[in-house]
Each structure stands twice: as C-alpha cells, then as structure tokens.
Symmetry: C2
Subunit: 296 residues, 2 copies
C-alpha cells in the first residue's frame, strides 16, 4: 500500500487523500499522468517525463501550465520522505473539479495535482532476470495513444486477461495485425536476421521515455535499431523480444501467447541492452545485476 | 452546481463528497455510468438504464452485482430530496479503491457507488424548440462504445471543440466516413426519400435508452425506421436530422458543420417524433411543448 500522497500542494497520508467525485478525471478520464523511475534515490529522466507531461496537456488543450520547478521538488520530497532507493513516482494532472458534470472543458481551469511514490525493485527482479510471458490481445484503445491519459481501461482489461491466463503482461495488436506496443510498455524484437526492431513513433503508440533513453544509449554503444511495425507473426519467430517501461526498464519477453521466444530464455542482445540501460541510469551492472553475466 | 450526492451508501452535501484518488475510476477510467431522465418526478425507463448498467459491468468483468432495489430507491430519494420535477439522475459504479495502483482488476472487488440528481428542463427548452447545430469530428474513441464507461475524454474534446466553434454538440465520423453517433447522443436523419434512419447497433455505438424507447414508440405509432450506417455526406443532404439522449430527449439538428439541414428549422417528422416521445414518457405535448404545433 502507498503511504504518502501529494494532493494539490499538500503532502499527506495516502489514506487521507480525498478528492471530489466531480473531478473530471473521475467523470471523464480528462487527465494525464507520468510514472518516473527512481534509481539510487534519483528520478530517472524526469526532464523527459515532464516534457511529455507538458505535451500531453497541450494536446488536450489544457490552458494551465504546471510549475516545473515545483513538480521537480515534489518528486525529490516524495523520494526523500519515502526513503526511496529504487521505485517510482506517479504524477497525475486532471482538468479539475467544478461541482457538476459538463462535458466541455471549463473556460477557467483549476487542475488537480496528485502524486505518490512507491518503493519497488527495478533491476534485480524476477522480471529482469527471468523474463516475462505476454499474451497478445486486440488493441481496442482510442486513436491518440501518443497522449498519456488515464483513459486506461483497455490496458487494465488486457492486463487482467494476461493475469487470468497466468501470464505477466499483454501486447496489443492493431486491426492490421501489427503489434502497437505493450499494455504499459513499448515492444521490441530481435529479428531472425539480428535486427533490433521497435514500432516507429506516431499517434499509434506512446513515445516511451525508457524507449527513448535506450535508443540513445544503444546508438552510443555503436548498435543500430530499426523503427518499423512488426506483426504478431514476426514476433513469434523472433530470436528475442523485450519490453521497455519506467517500472520494468528492459524486460526480456520469453513467451508470447504460450510460444517460446527463441530459446525461451533471455537472449544475448536483450542482456546486452539491459546492461547498457542500467549503466545509462547510473547503475553498475556487475553489482546491481550480477545475473547479466552469469547466464547466457 | 449539484447540491446533494450519494456516495457508497451515504447521502451527503455534494461538496462534502470525497473519495480516494486511488479509485480506479480516477486512475484507469475503470468505471461505468448511467444518466436517467426524470420527468414529472419519476425516472424515465430506469429499468432499461439499470439493465444496461448491469450489462456494462458484466462486459468489463465486474464480479460484484449492484443491488437493483437499492439503486431504484436511491433514484427515488435523490428525486425527492432535490424536489426534481424535470432533470436527471447520474449514477456511476467504479471498480473501487485499493490504496495503490495496479492495472489488473482486484480479485476481491469493493466497488464505489456515486450518484447525484440535477434539475434541468428537458422538454420546453431552446434545444427542443429551436434545434441545435452540430459539428462533425473524427471518431477517435476506443472500440467498445457499447459499454458505457467513463472513458469519455474523446467525447469531452469533441464537445469542447463544438463549443469553441459556437455550436452545441458534435457528431462523430468513423474512418469509413459513416457517422457513428453523437458525442453523448444517438444520431438520426430523415433521408431525401423520407426514411427515418439511425445507425444499427453493434460495438460501434452505445445502445441508447432514449433511442430504444423512441424506436418502440414510433413503431407503435405505425411509423417505420431503418437501422443502417449513414455518411456525413448523406446527413448533409438529409431532409431532417435529430439526436436522442436522456437529457435532450429528441433534439432537432438544424445545422451540420455550418450547413443548414433541410429548411434549417426543425422538420415535421422530428416534430412528430418529439410529440410521440413526450407522450411516451407521460407528458401532454399540447401543454408541455405547445411550440410543437405552433410552427411547421
């Protein structure tokens, strides 16, 4: 359970955080959010998250602009108060509550701000070490997946179905047969001819911050990758697969719809990218993830 | 402003109604709702609304079943306490709050119930009398429009854009060029060859309660109608157009994207259907809507 929350400028016990059911996040999913990883007591790529938050708000026509310095302080304070070494900070901005229910956005905006932090191992986890199994489900989400809104019901249903089938997560497949992304992660494969592939950016998927950082880091390491759509069928015969997100970082995907990916174990490219990513966020892979070199 | 609310079994002042920001409606739009018209102090077709609510919950895999008798009593009490003659009751059921944020549905469900009532003229309104102008926008919603969820951001954006352009509402157009429905109403036209047409039911649109009741009533009056897709282009050259919803009942649409529909005034078929619908819910059109016969 989460212990502390920040709500509209006030730090308080999480179970004392209360807001109006007339909040537009509650009535209309009129709200956006970010989840920022915390490693070694520091937020990871908070600048990129706050950039994306600002973009989400702009795309939805929010007129108020969050105080960036304040949000950075809130992250720091939540990390400190919760003595967070590894974990994440959640931040949500809604279009606020107005004492009634009216679809059009209000002319004068009073947004709601909500945040909390939670400790969670990010690197030395069963997910990172052993990989995960995913199911594929139809991508039934709205058309603007580039905006990180709390309209997450399709994703929640996909993850509920994955859990029901004894798997860890879901990858979403568009009506054209191509995988868009995971329910809360970007999807990557290593193809039969050893290309690292992930979906190109558009309104079809979210521009993941972990995706962006990994892309920069692997390029810096002299590796190349290709941004293009890939189908469920291509993923099923891929050598390796993995997913990137703020809370799983680089997660090997070892099973898709019950079919083993490659050997069924995290592959060498995925292991190398995990190491590159861990290094990029300031970790020493040899200490933080000794299993990276133990297996192969 | 709404004065009174019902939250998890308790009637209280609306501004005292508070819930946890960990509620899944707030975090994930994991929630459904109904809006039931109130006419002459009685809820209109509450049975159909509660049937649809139960269906929405089933489709989303909710395991708890609302107490139907209790929900009916809540409607009665809200109507009484607010001395409602004409207006609506809003009811929302969410998958509840669990003190944290985890996508998959909880195994043991503790749903949140929220309701309120608001007085609003339904029949003798500028909308019903003079009609409304609508804009058309791309239908960017998720694929399960048959489930009445609070994932309403696309609809809120559409209505915000309509307001910005000085119009009253928005009709949504699928990527195939066919109108699906209004942002919070079903869409109907009267074609050049005098057919009454509305979209056939599927996962593409919501099965409107007002739509269903009007369909039954017009059939009883010896009128026929056709359920099929119609395009924006067909709507632009229609003789008449109108929208049905719980809060606007039968609303003439006299302008689409700035183009006059027919004469630009509510047409004779729409007027007849308004009369039929008002009668069906227990009104005397001659008294409640004298303008029905004043013009033509």
């Amino acid at each position: 359970l989460v212990k502390q929350a920040w709500l509209n400028g006030v730090f308080l016990a999480a179970d004392e955080a209360k807001l109006s059911p007339f909040d537009r996040a509650f009535l209309f999913a009129d709200s956006v959010y970010e989840v920022t990883a915390v490693y070694d007591g520091r937020p990871v790529d908070l600048d990129l998250h706050l950039d994306r938050l600002a973009r989400s708000l702009r795309e939805l026509g929010f007129t108020s602009v969050p105080d960036r310095a304040q949000l950075m302080q809130v992250h720091d304070r939540l990390i400190e108060d919760n003595a967070l070494k590894e974990g994440y900070v959640y931040l949500q901005v809604t279009r606020g509550a107005y004492g009634g229910r009216d679809f059009p956005a209000p002319s004068v905006e009073r947004p709601t701000y909500f945040a909390f932090a939670e400790a969670r191992a990010l690197i030395d986890t069963p997910t990172a070490r052993n990989g995960i199994g995913v199911i594929t489900v139809d991508d039934i989400r709205w058309a603007r997946r580039d905006i990180k809104t709390t309209g997450l019901l399709a994703q929640a249903l996909a993850k509920t179905e994955a859990k029901r089938r004894g798997e860890d997560d879901a990858w979403l497949v568009g009506s054209d047969g191509f995988i868009t992304e995971g329910a809360s992660a970007n999807a990557w494969i290593v193809t039969a001819d050893d290309k690292i592939v992930t979906r190109d950016l558009s309104t079809i998927i979210l521009a993941g911050v972990t995706r962006a950082r990994l892309a920069t880091s692997l390029a810096a390491a002299g590796l190349s990758f290709v941004e293009r759509p890939f189908s469920r069928e291509e993923a099923l015969v891929a050598r390796e697969a993995f997913a990137t997100s703020a809370t799983t970082l680089v997660a090997p995907v070892v099973r898709i719809d019950g079919v083993r990916v490659g050997s069924g174990l995290p592959g060498p490219v995925t292991r190398r990218l995990q190491g590159i990513y861990y290094t990029a966020i300031g970790a020493d892979p040899g200490k933080a993830a000794p299993w990276l070199t133990e297996e192969s």
